[in-house]
């Protein structure tokens, strides 16, 4: 295997890492604030992907432009999920919480199968085949856009969380609910915001990935497993950790596909999870 192929694999992994980071940040935001492990996060991505696909198919809206629709759409969806499905089980045992999100995931996945069939769909844009050549390595423009878009959104979220009052309140609720209530912050509203934002990020990931990725009902499973590994490796609740971990997982998966075979990418990701749990269960950002 020559160096160019390996470099190409590395690059593909790095570019994919942006999307993984976006899904994982949504997951870690919801976990950090609401303390719910959302197994339906992958299906939120799936909804974003189908929304992008149909906007393009029915009205010819460009996938990148559709971000302006899918993000608010998923935000509202997240708010509804928090209000009607998460809120009643906020104080229930872990078992009930995880099962709630698994149930939501199963319903959404199969609703997609029911309404849209198992067909693999794809959006065909004029720029789908555009590529930059750097030496022997090819950079797909759509993958590059997905990476840059993801970084931009992650940056915006960080600014929002650190510089604005609402963002600070959100982080405060993640640290201590009771004290926030004493300070006049309404945790219920912060929960709505957190799940809304988490879902909106997943929706954005969906829109960004559609130009180079097939849309199908079970596509969310791929993302949710990777996102969980990213979140654990990057320490639950940490955004910088998720970015770093996404890079590691994206590259490892891509190289795994290169060396072990296309069907074993997820096995490599699982191996990273096992290694993390053995060596550093608190993640890269946690205390050893």
């Amino acid at each position: 295997m020559d160096l160019t192929t390996i470099l190409q694999g590395l690059l593909t992994g790095i570019l994919m890492a942006g999307i993984y980071a976006l899904v994982a940040i949504g997951l870690t935001l919801i976990f950090g604030v609401v303390r719910i492990v959302n197994f339906a996060q992958g299906e939120f991505v799936m909804i974003g992907m189908y929304a992008t696909y149909w906007l393009w198919k029915l009205w010819g809206i460009d996938p990148y432009l559709s971000l302006l629709i899918t993000m608010p759409l998923l935000f509202c969806f997240g708010v509804l999920v928090q209000r009607f499905l998460f809120r009643p089980i906020l104080h229930a045992p872990d078992l009930a919480q995880i099962f709630m999100t698994v149930g939501i995931s199963v319903v959404l996945m199969n609703a997609a199968l029911f309404f849209f069939t198992a067909d693999f769909r794809s959006v065909k844009t004029a720029y789908a085949e555009w590529a930059l050549r750097l030496g022997g390595v090819t950079v797909s423009v759509t993958r590059l856009f997905a990476f840059l878009g993801a970084l931009l959104l992650a940056g915006l979220l960080t600014v929002f969380l650190t510089k604005t009052d609402v963002g600070k309140a959100l982080r405060a609720v993640a640290q201590d609910r009771e004290v926030c209530m004493l300070l006049g912050i309404n945790p219920e509203r912060m929960y709505l915001l957190a799940v809304g934002l988490g879902a909106a990020l997943a929706g954005a990931a969906g829109s960004l990935i559609v130009p180079f990725f097939y849309v199908f009902p079970t596509v969310g499973v791929v993302f949710v497993l990777v996102a969980f590994v990213v979140v654990i490796l990057g320490t639950l609740g940490s955004i910088e950790g998720a970015l770093l971990a996404a890079l590691i997982v994206g590259v490892a998966e891509s190289l795994g596909i290169l060396f072990a075979g296309a069907d074993l990418g997820l096995v490599v990701v699982f191996a990273i999870l096992v290694a993390t749990l053995i060596l550093r269960p608190s993640g890269l950002m946690g205390q050893a």
Partner: protein, 328 residues
């Protein structure tokens, strides 16, 4: 004889004659699947209910049992009566590192790792097709009526075998519930830190519960392979199966001895009903209904249906007269 003796005894007799009352083999098949899921729900309940450790990957143990047994039967002609135990043992061995790695940690790690484990095994089985025959799956060579090869031309023996397994699991769970391990698990479930302070090694107790659960699930996997003659990576390692196993316990009632049995009966009725009603015309609709059911149970009946049935049973027992003549 009090109603508390003769009602359960009568029910057991009913289960013994049940297949002979059913009009055709299809109904016997449903009864077999009810028993299989009663076994799976019961074994899941050991770690998921009593241990409070949510497994979303019990298919990993089921599939390991099914594949190890079928590979051994096909390659070396070992009797399935022996591989039944070897399949269970393989699942148990698989569970040991999982337990050691995950139960040191508190949090959702086990749930995530269990999904990953089943999914990784499914992909590996698909990948190494020289050994596993990939997506086409493995078949148990059909030898007609061969009881020593765990093959029968009638469904009745399978039914009785599945019934023995289901009753066995109920008895094992009941015994475990009253054992030291059972009490440890309940204590850990209520307050892990307090339990640790009293000297309970919580990770060890959970790992034991997982090993027991994995072993029994593996045995059930072997039975399933022998019963259906064919196994596929998607059918025995799939996420759908893992969720269905957990759903059986949740619908019935987690952390109770008979909850999963009830859950298995209800779910299997439900599955057959939806299959007949929709006749496979609407892909996704069935699972959509299960997912909805799961959400509904968590929202409105978090303890499952077992409390209803317990009340019903108590009412019945209180009203029934004691049988005369058997008082001595």
């Amino acid at each position: 004889m009090s109603p508390r003796t003769y009602v359960p005894a009568g029910f057991l007799v009913f289960l013994l004659v049940l297949p002979h009352l059913l009009p055709n083999p299809f109904y016997v098949h449903i009864a077999v699947m009810m028993a299989v899921f009663a076994v799976l729900g019961g074994t899941w309940n050991i770690i998921g209910g009593y241990g409070g450790q949510l497994s979303l990957g019990h298919a990993a143990f089921f599939g390991t049992g099914a594949y190890v047994s079928t590979l051994l039967v096909n390659a070396y002609g070992i009797s399935p009566w022996i591989t039944l135990w070897l399949g269970g043992l393989a699942a148990l061995l698989l569970s040991v590192p999982v337990g050691i790695i995950c139960f040191r940690l508190q949090g959702p790690y086990f749930a995530i790792a269990s999904i990953g484990l089943a999914e990784a095994l499914r992909l590996l089985v698909l990948h190494f097709r020289d050994i596993t025959n990939g997506a086409q799956g493995l078949t148990v060579p059909f030898k007609g009526n061969a009881p020593w090869l765990l093959q029968f031309d009638s469904k009745f023996p399978y039914y009785y075998l599945a019934l023995v397994m289901a009753v066995g699991v109920v008895l094992i769970v009941r015994r475990m519930e009253r054992s030291r391990l059972g009490h440890y698990l309940v204590a850990i479930g209520q307050n892990q830190d307090a339990a640790e302070a009293l000297g309970i090694n919580s990770s060890r107790a959970k790992a034991k519960a997982l090993a027991l659960s994995a072993f029994l699930t593996g045995v059930a996997g072997v039975f399933y392979a022998q019963y259906t003659y064919v196994i596929h990576p998607d059918s025995v390692f799939g996420l759908g199966l893992s969720i269905q196993i957990a759903l059986v316990a949740i619908v019935g009632g987690v952390g109770t001895v008979l909850g999963p049995v009830l859950g298995a009966v209800i779910m299997e009725f439900f599955i057959q009903f939806t299959q007949i009603a929709f006749a496979g015309q609407y892909p996704g609709l069935e699972l959509m209904v299960y997912g909805g059911l799961l959400v509904a149970v968590i929202l409105w009946r978090p303890r499952g249906v077992i409390p209803w049935f317990a009340r019903l049973y108590e009412g019945l027992v209180a009203r029934l007269p004691a049988a005369r003549g058997a008082q001595a």
